[in-house]
Amino acid sequence: MSTPAFRSALAASNQARRLTLGAAGPLLALLLACAFFATRSDRFLTGENFSLVLQQVMVVGVIAIGQTLVILTAGVDLSCGMVMALGGIVVTKLAAESGVPVPLAIAAGVGVTTGFGLVNGALVTRIGLPPFIVTLGTLNVAFAITQLYSQAQSVSELPESLTALGTPIFGGGVVWGVLLMLALYGVAWYSLRHTAWGRHVYAVGNAPDAARLAGIRTSRVLLSVYVIAGALYGVAALLSVARTGVGDPNAGQTENLDAITAVVLGGTSLFGGRGSVLGSLIGALIVGVFRNGLTLMGVSSVYQVLITGILVILAVTTDQLSQRRTA
């Protein structure tokens, strides 16, 4: 029965199935969601609306890159949205109120978010605390500092250069920030797929003991992941500021869960070691399309939260079930 030809055919079909489940599943979900909303609202399938969706997605999308890295190592970063909000407040307060030159303000903001990544990573690797608890703690720390520093006030009248990422490219429908997001996805995809560091991120998430025994410095890989994630939240903060035109101390609250949702919807396993960053881009688009489509249909934002919650649970359930099958 089990001739070599039969077996190799079986292996090939297994591989094909893995590929389809890996990338095409989320893509199909995205297309279905688009088709559904297109039938519900005339405004959904317009260039203007797509441009809006992309602008909404660029913030979550960039956070989701960092979140993907963390989740690939079998961790999770609950602090992402709040750290981003703090970054946004630091940049805008310094640039608009303290008269710090914009490049310095940006450096300070990204520096603060990267510092939070470093703290998360150090607590996870040096003390061995669970990422869930560490980032739940830093979530609250970042939120509190944001409120204290901004005195819970939005920062407005920003220098023009701070919102440049929100302006259209050559007067078209796509803003610079979307281009930046896509470029970051390209870099992340390349690093994960084509560098040793990327393979080590997967190995650390999939089999930390095997990775260590293979001579990989697992703590260093983990730390690098949290630091890079922190830096990406800083970039997301710049995009958020550029899009809304204000420094908002209450930013990041929907993005926090949306980013995790995007990663999980994109097929990255919460058990670590499996998934792709391009899936997270599709996942972010799914989340964006849902929020946008439901808004166009006049569904109140509470229901959007409800639906996002259900989406997360569905995606995690699929992950759990497929994990059980392969184990």
Partner: protein
């Protein structure tokens, strides 16, 4: 089999508080032989192996590779000296492909600018070399891009052995390589160990499985109470005497000197 000693240890001592795991353990491995290490629980087998593979630092004693004293502080040090270890169960990352597993921690980069500047991996070469390694060891796996989770237990162990054999310059240490396997897969791994030895490497085999030990070992190192009590010749000693020495029921002096190796 040559008589050249490639890995040697003398008087290894390791204490954990009041417990003495190694109590003056000696060890000697020649090129191109399979040396089985047997011993009851607590005989110091795994401490010995850990010391030889750099996973623990002994309190006293010396380890020599090719006659030169070495000081292993970490598994990487042993690996640099050409000693590779196959750890039971922990050896592979199941979600990653065979090629990725074989080259995990020592990935090959592309030549030229892509490799140097962009640090781009050479997936093709890693796949081809993996296929070559596995073919040399007669491990029948179709595709190097197959995830290890799709392999059977024996095939996984074969991949782990192949990785060590591919990169070892002197010694491959195997910790219970057949423990989790069925009869057929177990004998496949034994055949694989033989092929590794025939390439001139020294193989250290830790096993509880006496039939396997007698089938494949060239010499048997018997550990007891943290010391080497005897080195036996599996072709002249019988299994029950070996077990008797291992458990302390007989002292090596009471054996026929012809069974000592």
């Amino acid at each position: 089999m040559s008589n050249e000693v490639i890995l040697e240890a003398t008087g290894l001592v390791k204490r954990y508080g009041h417990v003495t795991a190694l109590d003056g353990m000696d060890f000697s491995l020649r090129a191109g032989e399979v040396l089985a290490v047997i011993g009851d629980n607590g005989a110091g087998k795994s401490s010995l192996i850990k010391a030889l593979s750099g996973a623990l630092v002994p309190d006293e004693g010396t380890i020599r590779v090719d006659g030169r004293a070495v000081d292993f502080r970490a598994p990487m040090d042993a690996r640099r000296a050409g000693i590779e270890t196959v750890y039971q169960e922990l050896a592979v990352a199941p979600a990653m492909t065979i090629a990725e597993n074989l080259f995990l921690g020592r990935e090959l980069r592309r030549p030229g600018v892509a490799g140097r500047l962009l640090r781009m991996l050479d997936h093709t070469r890693m796949r081809e070399e993996s296929a070559r390694y596995l073919q040399e060891l007669e491990i029948g796996v179709r595709s190097m891009s197959q995830a290890v989770s799709t392999l059977s237990g024996g095939q996984r162990q074969a991949v782990a052995v192949a990785r060590s054999a591919a990169f070892a310059r002197h010694v491959v240490i195997m910790d219970e390589p057949t423990a989790a396997l069925g009869v057929k897969e177990g004998s496949q791994v034994l055949a694989l160990i033989r092929r590794v030895r025939d390439r001139g490497l020294g193989v250290v085999l830790i096993s509880h499985n006496m039939p396997h030990v007698f089938e494949i070992a060239d010499r048997i190192h018997v550990a007891r109470l943290g010391r080497r009590v005897a080195v036996l010749n599996p072709r002249s000693v019988n299994m029950s005497d070996a077990v008797a020495v291992m458990t302390g029921a007989r002292t090596p002096e009471t054996l026929d000197p012809a069974v000592l190796a």
